[in-house]
Symmetry: C2
Subunit: 334 residues, 2 copies
Amino acid sequence: MKSITIADVAKQSNVSKSTVSQYLNQRYQYMGEETKLRIENAIEELGYRPNIVARSLKQKSTTTIGVIVANILHAFSTQVIRAIEDVCHEHDFHTIVCNADDDPEKEKNYIEMLHAKQVDGLIIFPTGGNTALFKRMKKSQYPLVIMDRLLEDLAFPAVILDNEAAASLAVDHFVDRGYRSIGIMTTSITRNITPRVDRIKGYKKALEKHGIPVKDDYIRSLDLQHFEAALEEMLSLQAPPRALLAGNDLALMEILKFIKKKSLRIPEDVALIGIDDVSFASFYNPALTAVSQPAFKMGEKAAELLMKKIQDENGAIDEEVHRFEPELIERDSC
Amino acid sequence: MKSITIADVAKQSNVSKSTVSQYLNQRYQYMGEETKLRIENAIEELGYRPNIVARSLKQKSTTTIGVIVANILHAFSTQVIRAIEDVCHEHDFHTIVCNADDDPEKEKNYIEMLHAKQVDGLIIFPTGGNTALFKRMKKSQYPLVIMDRLLEDLAFPAVILDNEAAASLAVDHFVDRGYRSIGIMTTSITRNITPRVDRIKGYKKALEKHGIPVKDDYIRSLDLQHFEAALEEMLSLQAPPRALLAGNDLALMEILKFIKKKSLRIPEDVALIGIDDVSFASFYNPALTAVSQPAFKMGEKAAELLMKKIQDENGAIDEEVHRFEPELIERDSC
DNA sequence: GTGAAAGCGCTAACAT
DNA sequence: ATGTTAGCGCTTTCAC
């Protein structure tokens, strides 16, 4: 499978390689109309396609960015990815998506491989490890924007949800509806995943604001496979919570499974609000009240920040964190 | 951002570029133990990472494959993708995923860009257009495996579901449960999307097998945005179907929305079976009976076929279609 | 055991 | 207006 090169086109059309190159890069300022046509035909006849690898080597740009998500299973990740792809597409950039699977080791491998592949920049949903690596990237000025989670001590441009507000919104709504014993269940916070920590923080603050005492028994943060046991435990407390806040979509689904298994009624037995709007929220029985993140806007913002950083050579370095507001979607589960 | 090259490492360790290259490619057969160490240190000190773009240019292989799915919104697509990624990872290949969004034009662009990017092979869920392009690829021997849908007249290795069997399974189950007026709703079959066509075919055959007359009023194939109207129509027939088969996950969700909106009961008012097992099937109220595809196995198979095709230079060319068996998961919606 | 040199396909001065 | 030339960073004979 020997490929057709620019040299073949040049020969076929009786011009030099450089002229063909000019043509390919639409620099036909002073190019003879006839030459242009000859080249056009040659390309057509030969079915020639430029080799992007060679071009990238020369130009030191692959017009490709990488995005590494901590966990692709979150609907939020996929929504953000689609927005990023859209923006990149507008800028004629390609996108390579990798899933770190919540594993800092995998994250590290992907960062290194994308770097080796010479992607022009990275959008990362950090897993929470790899501090040293990030420090190095910071120093090397590698175009990087952080999404969803914050990296302590490291000032990269970042796009995140106002996670405290998200939890607050939910608690406020529970209280509005007359609930005062409210639990929160979220996935594990070993490695200090900031959104989860912040959501718990927001939950506590909101409770205090309403003069409701915070009970540690009502707060659980653990791996999905331990949800059932934890739920069992929490709901068999002498005074069990009457309302449950799911810290994210995966947590919500575990809770729903449990509720189904135990034939509990929503909201009579437990009221429910989930952070993240799941695909089936509107037509679940009952319809699920949710706090939704503006995933699309967030993805757009992250991509725009990165594009700017890549194009501005070493222009104004934006290290701000861009915080987006969540929104409560009222339905029937609370 | 000038990058560190092999030359820098060579200088730093007082050897030539080629020796460093040997080292990088683990060809230290005759390499001095000491040289090895010096290189190792130099690489460490400089933080050198090989430039994959340059390597690819020379080696004419990017150890990357592309996968183009017709529509990423189908859960099936994402499951298959994950399996493909796993297999590729084992073979030290990377994967670039593109979403054609059911648009043959986009499909074409992606094929061309992936080709230009010199990916070593392609797995495609065809949108149904681009016959000429595929014919050309066939001729050029480009490593390609087809997934999910068949391409008429074109013999590529393919991995698909036994779609007729899938519909049959559902109809059989309906009949078992005493239903004899059964409708089917699926997304549009303009462009002759083979799975949809075959599912309808399987549905009809199964009906005939059971001696139930096929009614055209009970068969609808259209875009998602027209589902509501079509459902309205079908269920207001003088003799409406009492059971509904959803042709895929997206169709199922539309049906569920409609049912919710009209406050219909499942299965009392309509029984329901969906082809594709959705994430929430097990904990929906009621739990959803489904015909599931072995998505993971199918993805694995496709990836393995492609890897073989890529590695076997021009070895045995497998043009078989590999057909997988669906499985009925019995729950409460029928 | 290690090095020199050519070349992968393309671009970009610089000539002409 | 078009051609010549020198690399981009790496791999790979072939010498030494």
